[in-house]
């Protein structure tokens, strides 16, 4: 089995190497057949990676401990469902998953754009192939998932904090997002290398950017939900370097999604866009480097491993390569940029790009600064949550405001008069909300108050856009409001899908602010029968119970929760003891109070022999909006990504026209 896996993995490396070399030759010499063959090599590399990954999964299912990777990350007691997730519970398997997603996404992108790739952007195949070859080289030569040993009687088990349903989906989604960003990067670089800097690479890669960005965003939120429900400290995001590693490319991709629109509409910012996508891709690599190299102290300290140097070298190659390509093509990239007004949609995108990229780079700086301090002064320092929270306010609040103003601005120019009229309703609404919040006592936190006022403004802006648009469509001949609404959205899916995503970000902001600024919590030592209360809620400790299963013992304290004397049922909070792994994991109890829009979280910090417990209760207002934001975000992305017949027709027409033929559009 190990032999087959290893052999297939080697084959993958060979195929991707062929795709790179043959593809480059074909691109230089203009050989279509050879290029087609390189594309096929990439596609078959995907098929072979599926076989390799399948082999490893099979080894996990069969408890084949002769494979070191299986022995180190699984055990006979591990439930079957988690043996599937075991594929990505360690470094070697994660790299295999990375390769799997990379070849899969790349193959799909190549096949769906086959004609474009072969005729217009031939360098796409060798660039994807080269990146793939690197990621195939690592598991082949440096960190093989198929390394063998004499089989021990049982495996060491799986990291207990990964034994959680969220960890079944979080990593694959994260990788879809991370790795998917390779596609727009490859298209952009291919456009530069092939000297085809027109819109075609943008159009071809647009959906891939959106797709990866969506999955990255959803994966970050799922990771937050996992942290919230299974780590048990009452929070969901700790600005850990590894968490930031996913957020940085997401922010950069957000900036890219916006600025690429300016390119499509106005042929501006072409240089900036290729820089931005190169930055985004580098940040995904950098994030992986941080996660995997053990360079940075993190709670997610995965194994300290030997791949750090390899990754760093690859990042250097990517950075140098893309910098060289961009600089050498500057003359064909540059266009005359004309900005009609500083108050226009495109100008707003400039400002938002500034803030988003500044925030992403600040996070990079925050990750690198302790290393700098260590290197220059030999003093180790920490850059933690207070630092990032500060910059979240500095960059995040203006972004929130901008998110409200941007949609109200027209492309090209908005005279002050138009602007004033467009802004009036949302502004009124925001001020009203602000005043109400001050009366309700939200003034206890100034940033919270500001954030909520801005949120109100942004959400009102989105609503105004929808209302005005629908009304206009109705005037234009749609008979029903529903019809007008659908026709509005379907005529510009990206814009209105984008607005839905804006709404999601506003919900997220409300949830984050609510749960981090207006939260309350307390810890107390309780004997059975005793009670403690926080913010109107009261929990009475009833006692503990113990359930045993093959993989772990579950100790649960039982607490009767009530709000102002009214019982809300029993909440269980305790700990799991994973036997093989010798690990204790928190199992928190969460009661979601929809009426008051807050979560009551019970964490059994410590259970003593005498039956007493140190119970921590946290009340997190509005936190569930964060998860709802995830759903809304997904809806917005689906709307924006949905195939657009009108656009497709136009592109087909365009393609035909370039060949000098007339469109056959009846």
């Amino acid at each position: 089995m190990a032999f087959f896996g290893q052999a297939v993995l080697l084959l993958v490396l060979g195929l991707l190497g062929y795709a790179t070399v043959a593809g480059s030759y074909a691109a230089v010499r203009g050989r279509r057949r050879l290029l087609s063959s390189a594309v096929n090599a990439f596609v078959s590399a995907f098929a072979c990676t599926v076989l390799a990954a399948g082999t490893l999964v099979l080894a996990f299912v069969r408890n084949d401990f002769a494979l070191s990777y299986v022995a180190n990350h699984s055990s006979r007691q591990l439930p079957l469902a988690y043996t599937l997730a075991a594929l990505w519970s360690g470094q070697e398997g994660s790299l295999l998953l990375w390769l799997l997603v990379l070849t899969g996404v790349g193959a799909a992108a190549l096949l769906l754009n086959r004609r474009l790739v072969i005729d217009v952007l031939p360098w796409t195949a060798p660039i994807l192939g080269g990146i793939g070859a690197y990621f195939a080289f690592i598991p082949n030569a440096v960190a093989s998932p198929f390394a063998t040993q004499t089989a021990p009687p049982n495996g060491l088990g799986m990291n207990a904090s990964l034994q959680n349903p969220y960890m079944m989906i979080h990593p694959p989604l994260l990788y879809l997002g991370y790795v998917g960003l390779t596609v727009p990067f490859a298209f952009a670089m291919a456009a530069l290398a092939s000297r085809r800097v027109d819109e075609r690479w943008v159009v071809a890669s647009r959906r891939w950017t959106l797709f990866s960005w969506t999955f990255l965003g959803v994966a970050i939120l799922l990771g937050a939900k996992w942290a919230y429900e299974s780590i048990g400290w009452g929070g969901y995001y700790a600005w850990d370097p590894v968490e930031n590693a996913a957020l940085m490319p997401w922010l950069a991709a957000t900036a890219f999604l916006h600025s690429v629109m300016v390119q499509e509409k106005k042929k501006m910012l072409r240089v900036w866009n290729v820089v931005l996508i190169a930055l985004t891709f580098s940040l995904t690599l950098f994030g992986t480097f941080l996660t995997r190299s053990g360079v940075i102290n993190s709670i997610h300290s995965f194994s300290q491993s030997s791949i750090g140097g390899w990754f760093l070298a690859f990042i250097a190659v990517v950075a140098a390569g893309s910098a060289f390509l961009i600089i050498s093509r500057l003359s064909i990239l540059r266009t005359s940029t004309r900005l009609e007004s500083l108050a226009s949609r495109e100008a707003a995108f400039l400002y938002n790009n500034l803030l988003l990229v500044a925030f992403a780079l600040t996070m990079l700086w925050g990750a690198a600064f302790p290393l700098l301090s260590q290197a220059l002064r030999g003093v180790s320092i920490s850059i933690g949550p207070p630092y990032y929270n500060f910059f979240l306010r500095i960059f995040g609040l203006p972004l929130l405001l901008l998110m409200g103003i941007g949609p109200l601005l027209a492309w090209r120019r908005a005279s002050l008069r138009s602007l004033a009229r467009a802004v009036s309703w949302p502004l009124l609404f925001a001020l009203l909300v602000g005043a109400m919040l001050v009366r309700a006592g939200a003034g206890s936190s100034l940033p919270g108050l500001v954030a909520y006022t801005f949120s109100a403004f942004a959400i009102a802006a989105v609503l105004v856009e929808f209302v005005r648009g629908t009304r206009a469509r109705k005037e234009l001949g749609d008979t029903t409001w529903a019809g007008a609404f659908t026709s509005l959205v379907s005529r510009n899916r990206r814009r209105y899908g984008g607005y839905v995503s804006h709404a999601a970000v506003v919900l997220l902001a409300i949830g984050v602010v609510g749960s981090s600024v207006y939260n309350s919590g307390r810890t107390a030592h309780l004997q059975p029968g005793q009670a403690m209360s926080v913010g109107g809620y009261s929990a009475t400790y009833l006692g503990t119970k113990l359930t045993r299963s093959a993989s772990h013992d579950a100790l649960r304290g039982q607490f009767e929760l009530s709000y102002r004397g009214k019982s809300m049922g029993i909440v269980e909070a305790g700990k799991n003891h994973y036997k093989v792994e010798q690990f204790f994991a928190n199992a928190v109890g969460i009661h979601t109070d929809w009426l008051r829009a807050e979560d009551v979280m019970l964490i059994g910090d410590q259970f003593d022999k005498d039956g007493s417990v140190f119970l921590k209760i946290a009340v997190n207002p509005l936190i569930d909006l964060i998860w709802i934001a995830g759903l809304v975000f997904l809806i917005g992305s689906v709307v924006a990504m949905w195939p657009d017949a009108r656009e497709k027709r136009q592109l087909a027409r365009r393609a035909l026209e370039i060949d000098g033929r007339r469109p056959v559009v009846a």
């Binding site: 004309r338 500034l354 600040t362």
Partner: protein, 156 residues
């Protein structure tokens, strides 16, 4: 707009940066748990249940009861564990660079963008063709009709 945004950011920074005097003189454990790291686990003290984290919590509680200010407590912790015990670097000396660079970077690039944008707005439209100078009304009627047709096509 960007200037206004920057101003706003600056004002907010001024408002938010110095923690209020009350919390400096009478800090709470919860506050300090947010600003201090557990030295062995590279997490906020708040998130950590390592033995040393419990010790630090006890220490902070004792110092609060003894009437220490927040910065005094932090100073004591630094002298025991080194600077890495603070969750965010101090705003002085070399560490000031950690705070300043992003702000200066934002201000600098904001300035560059503002400058560029201002220049772009002053750029004259591409050299106008003489026969089209007066625009709309002078558009050749045949061409105008074609344009309308194209627009209609787009709207289907």
């Amino acid at each position: 707009m960007s200037v206004r945004g920057l101003l706003l950011a600056a004002v907010l920074a001024l408002l938010l940066a110095p923690p209020t005097a009350a919390s400096e003189r009478h800090p709470t454990l919860a506050e300090l748990e947010h600003e201090v790291m557990c030295p062995t686990c590279h997490q906020l003290l708040e998130l950590s249940d390592a033995p040393i984290a419990d010790r630090i919590r006890a220490f902070i509680q004792a110092r609060i009861e003894a009437g220490d200010t927040k910065s005094e407590i932090k100073q004591r912790l630094v002298s025991e564990f080194g600077e890495a015990v603070l969750a965010a670097p101090p705003t002085r000396g070399f560490e000031l660079l950690a705070w300043l660079l992003p702000i200066l970077g934002l201000a600098g690039s904001g300035l560059v963008i503002a400058l560029l944008a201002w220049r772009w707005t002053r750029l004259k439209p591409e050299a106008a063709k003489p026969h089209l100078v007066n625009g709309f009304s002078e558009l050749d009627p045949k061409l105008a009709r074609r344009l309308d047709e194209e627009l209609a096509l787009l709207d289907r």
